[in-house]
Symmetry: C2
Subunit: 349 residues, 2 copies
């Protein structure tokens, strides 16, 4: 399952925002997840930011102090705080401090279950945004797309299970609620590079999520994005994909806007949850029936691609296992040096 | 399960477009579905439009000739045919003839598995579009929304299973790939009226599909739609709903644009299919595990709301059971006189 090729023996440090998500009052899921992640990943070291209660509960639970360091961060950022306020009023928040750790090199990755909006705004601001290659910028200019001086539009990507030991990347999953066709092109470039690095596919098959596979289907956004993707010969663009085929290994990279991507994955999760939440014998059968590779918490841990540093977001409502899996995801990305390698690939393409 | 209150004893006639969908060459699914639907619904009479092969196969299969009438329609419309061509070149197609049957009163409903685009274009053109009440038109004008002389924007609605014997309505599921906030308001009005009629809820809870439930979440479209819905006191607008809660009975009417709605339902279907397609013992367990109310073919049969006649669309790839269920759905809507009652409600609100 080690999809990123870093060595798990070198120590790597992940900064954990312990204040976000639905764990504000009950620290147990965070404490359990920390224990679980440290057990799963022997070379992981954590810098945990959070409340004094969290500090106390980590100590009480007997978590090995050699494996983590605690830093107090009482301030937490409301999920829907306005970007301007996020940038000016939360210097002492766990989220800002964890990102600063990545910026300064104290940590190789950070993980947060906090609000998507604040996390994307702060990550872009603190870590900076990656650059597309000169060739891509030229193509965008030629197509009349504002190339934003070459800066890529960051987006959330997650690995989607598509079979035993097989994954696809889907992006954007919610970093951008409104996207232009140029943004979808950026996501495609990021997804292409990330699939090469993390899925080890030399020529990832890239598809655009749509309501049908026929050429004329969908809205103006996907039609325009299709036209652009067809112009870039360095990408293996295979056309449209419908949402009922997301899990069928038809594509290695599934590109969509952040609104649609978020809805698609959550709808899928909703059905999986219905199976998982049955009672009595049905619960037993559901457990037996679930394909081994379709574990709900394998979804957890979206990586923010396109920023100069590794930022992983966990579901706000993630259970302890899911949160631990996201920590391991962050550690793997860190050991594979994902952010720096992404910039190398983006520049080379 | 009889959600619409018509009597199943009176004969009702459904016109069936037997040429659409993925059954163009293999007529068996259509033949089997016809037999199955006639058995399920004793008062159903069908006018079947299709190829001479279909006519032959229906005869060969020994389907009771007192229960259906066959009319030859060799022409079929490509899924992605352009609207202008659809309106001018296909007078002899099964889809056009089936719609004409509804228009003339020969049939009380029609069913097609053909292309969404052609079906919506033709249904609007042949049957005409329903009207919003004067009060709604006034509200739309006041809010600066072009009220299109009171004509509603038609959309596809389907019943979503949300528990044993419980359903919600979701709309639009793909009639409109691009929607304005005013369109979402129209869908809300249609959904409200339809839920009152078909789910027998006096005050249906109405929610807007979004990527989060916090007030500021989502794109400009859902934000604007929320502002509009809050202005209409006759609707019980409860706010946003996330896609992982679609099946959890949090709302009676789930409003979304046709692109997002289509993706959400197909993603859900994709996961259900993975369970259903397991092999060996896992297949057995999956069958045992499936909540009784979450049958995949219960999704089938979206009703086009907002036109002056009952138009039901079946999945292009629907199996025979699903196609039969869609026929029964059409018959039930016909016996409940859904289209006429919808116009009454819309005018009264």
């Amino acid at each position: 399952m080690a999809l990123l090729s870093g060595s798990a023996n070198e120590q790597c440090t992940v900064a954990l925002d312990g204040t976000g998500g639905d764990h504000q009052l009950d620290t147990r899921p965070v404490v359990d997840a920390v224990r679980f992640a440290l057990a799963l990943y022997p070379s992981l070291y954590l810098i945990v930011f959070g409340s004094s209660q969290l500090e106390l509960d980590l100590t009480k639970a007997g978590v090995n102090k050699k494996r983590y360091e605690f830093r107090l961060a009482q301030q937490s950022i409301p999920q829907d705080e306005a970007p301007r306020s996020v940038l000016t009023n939360y210097a002492h928040s766990a989220m800002v401090q964890a990102l600063e750790c990545v910026k300064s090199g104290q940590a190789q990755a950070m993980l947060s279950s906090g609000g998507t909006g604040p996390l994307v705004t702060l990550a872009r601001h603190i870590l900076g945004v990656q650059q597309l290659s000169a060739a891509k910028v030229k193509l965008k200019s030629k197509l009349g797309l504002c190339p934003r001086s070459g800066r890529v539009r960051p987006c959330f990507a997650a690995r989607i299970p598509v079979g035993p030991q097989r994954f696809a990347l889907m992006l954007d999953l919610g970093a951008n609620a409104t996207c232009s066709a140029a943004d979808l092109y950026d996501f495609a470039c990021l997804g292409h590079a990330c699939a090469q690095l993390s899925l080890e596919r030399d020529h990832p098959r890239l598809a655009l999520l749509n309501v049908g596979v026929e050429l004329g289907k969908g809205n103006a956004l996907v039609q325009r994005a299709k036209d652009i993707l067809e112009q870039d010969r360095s990408l293996q663009f295979t056309g449209f994909i419908e949402a009922n085929r997301i899990f069928n290994d038809d594509a290695d990279v599934i590109v969509t806007d952040g609104f649609t991507g978020n809805v698609a994955l959550k709808a899928a999760e909703g059905v999986a949850n219905i199976y998982a939440s049955s009672a009595g014998m049905k619960k037993f059968f559901a457990k037996m029936a679930r394909p081994d590779w379709l574990l709900p918490w394998q979804y957890n841990g979206s990586v923010l691609l396109g920023v100069n540093g590794i930022v992983v977001k966990s579901h706000a409502a993630a259970g302890k296992e899911a949160l631990a899996v996201a920590m391991v995801e962050a550690a793997r990305a860190a050991q594979a040096n994902l952010a720096a390698k992404m910039q190398e690939r983006l520049t080379a393409q």
